[in-house]
Symmetry: C2
Subunit: 334 residues, 2 copies
């Protein structure tokens, strides 16, 4: 185990993706045969058709793990990101936005096709987001692109379940887990989506059984998909002794965490108006991890997550707009 103080709080591996977001009606969701509230992988022709069917949109950098780092950076955490963009304008947008947030990002750009990943997000009047992801260059993150010195230099390696689908990044993430463990670092994983678990649940359960994961983030649907327990509390009980720190979010019903035998719960933080739920889980993870790497009490970690999630669902886009640091100051006794 290395004894030096790591340079980064978190290094994350995730989709390097630009969100293309537009308001939509529930009619559009059914007419276009979309899975409301979920994330569906789409190929380029389908992405093209869906884009043509979308209203005027705005482009905002996204990606689950990248959003989490943007939240942590806004709180003051030094972070690094690993992900694959193409040599195109959306790749420039992604790279600009993550670096402008203060996050180290040095994965070499990939030439040629496919293009940088896009997520076409239809936001219905209830604030719910329906995501359609064209993975593009993101799915070709090679294991060779990992800078293991960066992984060794971060307290936590954070991995995004969405990126478990494509083969190359999955291999890269397995190698990253090994590198983090060899360096004595923690490994955190977010399950991302119930459909991802339907495809890769066996992998995730094997990682957990092997003790490879120190922190697991899930929402209640993902918890049910992973454990097979319909009841929320049964699900927590089934996992709690297999994961050092388990964090489960329940949208407007708040969040739970179990860590070292301690069980904590917080209510959801108040939101004047839910505009767009994109990034809610990502920003919850940001707040929680910020507290976790500082050894703050478990309930404080949850409260930090709740405040960050509440900010991001109050506006369009999955990255924070308000001064998160000021919002959480009371929780930090500042």
């Amino acid at each position: 185990m290395t004894q030096t103080t790591p340079r980064y709080d978190v290094v994350a591996i995730g989709n390097a993706i630009v969100d293309v977001m537009a308001p939509a009606h529930d009619d559009d969701i059914s007419r276009l045969d979309l899975a409301k509230g979920g994330m569906t992988l789409v190929d380029e022709p389908r992405a093209h058709d869906l884009y043509a069917a979308m209203g005027p949109a705005r482009e905002i950098s996204g990606g689950s793990a990248a959003n989490t780092l943007a939240g942590m950076a806004a709180l003051g955490s030094p972070c690094a990101f690993i992900g694959q963009v193409a040599d195109d304008q959306l790749g420039e947008v992604f790279a600009h936005d993550i670096r402008a947030a203060g996050i180290a990002f040095a994965t070499p750009v990939r030439s040629g096709q496919p293009t940088t990943a896009r997520c076409l997000i239809f936001v219905t009047p209830d604030g719910q987001r329906t995501m359609n992801t064209f993975l593009g260059a993101s799915q070709f993150l090679p294991a060779e692109a990992l800078d293991e010195s960066v992984i060794a230099d971060a307290k936590v390696l954070y991995l995004e379940g969405y990126l478990w689908d494509p083969e190359e990044p999955r291999r890269a993430m397995r190698r990253a887990i090994a590198a983090a463990r060899a360096a004595g670092r923690k490994v955190a994983f977010t399950l991302s989506d119930a459909f991802v678990i339907a495809r890769h649940g066996d992998d995730f359960r094997a990682l957990i059984a092997a003790g490879e994961l120190d922190i697991l983030f899930a929402n209640e649907h993902e918890l049910a998909a992973l454990t097979g327990c319909e009841d929320f509390h049964d699900g927590i009980a089934a996992l709690a002794d297999k994961i050092p720190t388990l964090v489960v979010t329940r949208s407007d019903k708040g969040a739970h965490a179990v860590s070292g035998g301690e069980h904590a719960h917080v209510a959801a933080a108040p939101v004047a108006q839910v505009v767009d739920t994109t990034g809610a889980g990502d920003l919850f993870a940001a707040g929680f991890l910020y507290g976790h790497v500082r050894d703050l009490p478990l309930e404080t970690c949850l409260s930090l997550g709740a405040v960050c999630a509440a900010e991001v669902i109050s506006h369009y886009g999955a990255r924070p707009e308000a001064d998160l640091r000021a919002l959480v100051a009371p929780l930090l006794g500042e």
Copy 2:
């Protein structure tokens, strides 16, 4: 003069540009040596440097005349746009957004360099926008790309002063004016920016003196730059008998119009919070033109403009987000 009813209310020629917008502090404006509140043309290296200095941004289609059409389309006007994008991702974004707004857009894409135009917009806490425009492909709109049948098929040809700077679009706009007049259509012009007038005021004054313009949009600074009159009312008096319809906006002091000897004035429409003034003048023109092509009373045209401008400055981005049609319904007796 053609006797058929035109298919479009307005056909506009303008920059086909994507806005790249980020919050900024007044310190950034001075540190980066930007002209606060103005529009500065920048070359690609300067655009690159400014982008690197910008915080995390969002991309939203813009362009002054295109924004005006987006407002008119939201009100229910059939419109067409002529402008030049490159064969790249930002070009796709611009074309998607304008077509998704219901606006006809058929200018052929331009291959090769330069890229689609970008406007780097720094939005300070007072809601003021400071624009830095890389004209890119937009400056190469060729006169040959004009579809004169579209111009003949619109009640009003609307031209953007910003596009008078580059030579090719200037030539295209002169040709478009001739085509509109030959077809018996009206020509509307927006002066865009006091610095544009500093460069091309003689051209604009010559167009006015020759009776080529039927409707002129200006803000008070542009009026002063064009007429040389420091006093606002002197400026209006100097122009009023040379332009059939003159519209002058004064930000939070409302707007004036003089048409056929009639003088009308409205106060600014109330706004809960000014977030971003980008597009205020563009959307004012949208509301005014919507009323004008329907022969509504002059004061109603101004009120329509004021409501549309108030909507667009209440959020980020220069295109409407709320249901403009519902917002103006009371003015239309609906």
